[in-house]
């Protein structure tokens, strides 16, 4: 075979691989980029403002954490054809089932409120009143689902995922020191002054934003709704890995933006404040940060509200697919719209305890996360259910270590949120 024939053959092979990937890709990529939601962007922005580039290496460690947890949902969904809520009911009975479902409903709704807080804060920087933001966002989110096609919903979600990459050009606009960024990304170390309670809090916060209960429920249900089969598992894992890579990449670039221009500044407690402060120094970077914050809240909101609706549909036996029209799955869509409208309305109530809600999310999520993760490990070890797709010994060692660490750190994080002086 001559050179040109080989080149053409190679090109066809790569093109075919990309084409298949684009058909299968979706749940992993979307859930991972939606993981960088309004709360996540706030955590990364404040981390950069407080510690500069010093904690970048820690974000790299979160890649395997996110991948190994979410990859299990792909296998479980593709093999059992059940969402996580239904799988818990089936495997562990109604007590654990109801506990998980009701806790998920509460956690998701509270998180949805925080997404709306993020979106309204982002657009208020451009002078758009919160009421307009909430009305427009709700209409867009309703339009995304009413066409009765999972494929269409996923491709629109992909567009918003692309906007999530806006932090990459923003980072180049602020001209960071590439050598410093690379050094801090690949050489683990602590900031000057050594370990402190504040650093510990931020390490826990960064882990807390990496794995959230809704992600487990969302990805497994999305795998089922997309109709992924056992033969698609390898593609689903690749999709999840690419998603994990991008979620960490985005997190690093957010920290680079705020770490370059806001490091050492006091009074930066949210992504909205970071965007405003950035606008005074570098207007374009500040604008991109604000747009990114809105997009992060939006991506989070579309996934979180669906996670709850899928879970309820699975358990109550309602028709629950984005491939169905509203008249074919009325309760599925009703619960989706209900969550959206009530969460949006709460943000508009004058004097609503939004700070308390944001704090409460972290605590309530910790009551659900350990249970969801433990159930995931147990289910993935059930040979009768998983067959050859059950966890191998190395997978168990890795995932159990990750799960134990997440449980310990997220519990400490919740305790610190409840009792700020507990470790001082």
């Amino acid at each position: 075979m001559n050179f040109w024939a080989k080149l053409f053959y190679g090109y066809r092979k790569v093109a075919k691989t990309i084409k298949i990937y684009l058909l299968i890709a979706g749940p992993g990529l979307i859930v991972m980029l939606a993981d960088n939601d309004a709360g996540g962007i706030t955590t990364y922005s404040v981390t950069g403002a407080k510690f500069g580039y010093n904690l970048l290496w820690f974000l790299v460690l979160l890649l395997p954490v996110a991948y190994y947890v979410q990859e299990m949902t792909v296998r479980l969904g593709a093999v059992t054809k059940r969402g996580h809520a239904e799988a818990i009911f089936h495997a562990f009975g109604s007590f654990w089932g109801w506990f998980s479902l009701l806790d998920l409903m509460l956690t998701d709704w509270l998180t949805l409120v925080t997404e709306f807080i993020g979106m309204t804060a982002a657009l208020s920087i451009f002078g758009i009143p919160p009421v307009i933001t909430i009305i427009i966002v709700s209409i867009i989110m309703m339009l995304m689902v009413i066409n009765g096609s999972y494929w269409t919903w996923e491709k629109i979600a992909f567009l918003f995922c692309l906007v999530n990459l806006i932090y990459i050009p923003a980072a180049f606009m602020v001209h960071p020191s590439v050598n410093d960024v690379l050094y801090n990304t690949f050489i683990p170390h602590l900031p000057k002054g050594g370990f402190s309670n504040e650093i510990f809090f931020f390490l826990m916060a960064n882990i807390g934003t990496t794995i959230a209960p809704w992600m487990i429920f969302f990805q497994q249900s999305a795998v089922v709704d997309k109709g992924m089969l056992e033969k698609d598992i390898a593609w689903g894992k690749m999709d999840t890995f690419i998603g994990s890579f991008f979620t960490v990449l985005v997190a690093i670039f957010v920290v680079v933006v705020t770490g370059t221009l806001l490091y050492g500044r006091t009074g930066i407690e949210s992504a909205g404040q970071a965007a405003l402060a950035l606008m005074n120094i570098n207007h374009s970077a500040g604008t991109l940060l604000a747009i990114g914050l809105f997009d992060a809240g939006f991506l989070g909101a579309i996934c979180i509200s669906l996670a709850s609706s899928w879970a309820f549909g699975e358990v109550f036996g309602w028709a629950h697919s984005l491939n169905l029209k509203i008249r074919e799955a009325p309760w599925f869509y009703a619960s989706y719209f209900f969550a959206l409208l009530t969460a949006g309305t709460v943000v508009l109530i004058p004097g609503a305890p939004l700070v308390l809600i944001t704090l409460f999310v972290q605590v309530i999520a910790v009551t659900l996360l350990p249970a969801a993760l433990v159930f995931l490990i147990i289910l993935l070890n059930d040979e009768d259910v998983m067959g050859k797709y059950k966890n191998t010994l190395p997978q168990n060692i890795i995932t159990i270590t990750i799960v134990v660490l997440i449980i310990i750190l997220s519990t400490l994080y919740a305790l610190t949120a409840l009792f700020p002086n507990i470790f001082s």
Binding site: F89, H90, G93, S94, V315, T367, A371, V374, D384, L418
Partner: protein, 68 residues
């Protein structure tokens, strides 16, 4: 007219509650028996999970009481 609306609301809400209870009972019946293999490891994990949740809810309850 007001009486009709009142009756409709009471009956409507009553029916929704009745249907929901009926559905919940059906779900409890359907998932009455856990299907996971209850090995020693699984039983231990579930007991630890229960203890963890009881302690966590206790802490939350304590925080709530001290906040009031």
């Amino acid at each position: 007219m007001l009486k009709k609306i009142n009756d409709f609301l009471i009956h409507g809400i009553g029916n929704i509650i009745k249907n929901t209870i009926h559905e919940v009972r059906g779900i409890n019946k359907r998932y009455n028996i856990p299907h996971a293999k209850m090995t020693k490891g699984v039983r231990f994990s579930l007991i630890m999970l229960r203890i963890y949740l009881i302690v966590l809810v206790g802490i939350l309850f304590y925080k709530f009481i001290t906040l009031l």
